[in-house]
Amino acid sequence: MRPKLMEILACPIDKYHPLELHVFEEKDEITEGLIICPKCQRWYPIREEIPEMLPDELRKENEDLPFLKKWKNQIPEKIVKEGKPFNLTH
């Protein structure tokens, strides 16, 4: 995705806007990154350029947790430990 998209992106759950963007990998576009809703602490992965803004019930823990692990050093601690719908605190 392109950063300009953040202008209209909102959290699908509480519709909060603006959201926080963290970029991990970039070519012409952001290929890997994270979008965070500061209001409800939900995080949404950007994988292969696509922001995945799905509600909790459509998300897959077995795909999302490895993503969180992979980038945990570049993700705010609050999200790593308390982020929704999944985090690395067990």
């Binding site: 995705m1 392109r2 998209l5 202008e7 209209i8 992106l9 909102a10 959290c11 699908p12 759950i13 519709k15 806007h17 603006p18 949404y44 292969e48 350029e49 696509i50 922001p51 995945e52 803004m53 799905l54 509600p55 019930e57 459509l58």
Partner: protein, 269 residues
């Protein structure tokens, strides 16, 4: 069927369709069909190969009304056909955002986008009942034969209303019913994927749109489904087999289904 179960089935069903380039919605299949439902050959030539899976009921009128610089949201963008056509109309000052809940469809759309180098189209994985879009940001919401698949249509229209700017417009095409269909079809999962089970009565459908707050709700066009197109569709064929229907009975089932194009406006005040 439970709402979540329906959603899961639809998601998986269309995921398979994206992978196999199969057909979904009972409107028929492939670019031959896309021509019949109103896209011109020029339009179809102008989009990347593979963007047209022929799954829509056709939304060319909506596309025709788009203006330079507008922000357009496509609900259930699939492989991206309408997004790419819309992107041409709104130009570099405008932008088109496609939302689809099927990862396989988005993969296709993204690949198509890359092939053609469109700079003003973006896709995201999302649910049309929970749009990841801020309030009052879109000039136009379009959707092509998708809302019937949602078990929560009121929420979809509420969301469309929310993301539109005051004065913004919704231009959708979808399948609706003129008379109720039998329970057995309604309960069939394949029926859902083929856009028959989920179709709402037309009067009810229009009421849901008005409930969301839309004004000037008009049916711009109403077309009966061509039985020939419907029966050339692999999903429908499977459905008929699954329920061991006779051809006559199956025909009777499709007659109450019509494709409608609807326009509605979010009031400026």
């Amino acid at each position: 069927m439970k709402e979540e179960k329906v959603r899961k089935m639809v998601r998986e069903g269309y995921g398979k369709i994206a992978k196999a380039e199969k057909c979904g919605c009972g409107c028929g299949c492939g670019s031959q069909v896309s021509k019949q439902i109103g896209y011109t050959s020029d339009e179809l030539r102008s989009v990347p190969e593979g963007a047209d899976l022929g799954l829509g009921c056709g939304n060319p009128t909506a596309l025709a009304s788009l203006r330079e610089g507008e922000t357009v949201i496509d609900l259930g963008s699939g492989a991206g056909l309408d997004c790419f056509l819309a992107a041409k109309k709104v130009g570099s000052a405008g932008r088109v955002i496609g939302v689809d809940m099927t990862p396989e469809m988005l993969d296709k759309a993204r690949a198509n986008c890359r092939k053609s180098g469109y700079k003003n189209v973006e896709f995201r994985l999302g649910e049309i009942e929970n749009l990841p879009i801020a309030d009052n940001t879109a000039d136009v919401v379009i959707s092509n034969c998708v809302i019937n698949l949602s078990p929560e249509k009121q929420r979809v229209f509420n969301e469309a209303f929310r993301v539109l700017k005051p004065g913004g417009r919704m231009l959708i095409s979808d399948m609706v019913l003129l008379k109720p269909i039998p329970e057995t079809v309604k309960k069939s999962v394949l029926g859902y994927i083929a856009c028959v089970s989920g179709a709402e009565m037309k009067t009810e459908y229009l009421k849901l749109i008005a409930n969301a707050g839309f004004k000037e709700v008009h049916v711009v066009e109403e077309t009966p489904l061509s039985a020939e197109l419907v029966f050339s569709d692999a999903t429908v064929e499977a459905m008929i087999k699954e329920m061991s229907l006779t051809k006559e009975l199956a025909e009777e089932l499709v007659t109450p289904v019509v494709s409608v194009k609807i326009s509605a406006t979010k009031p400026s005040e």
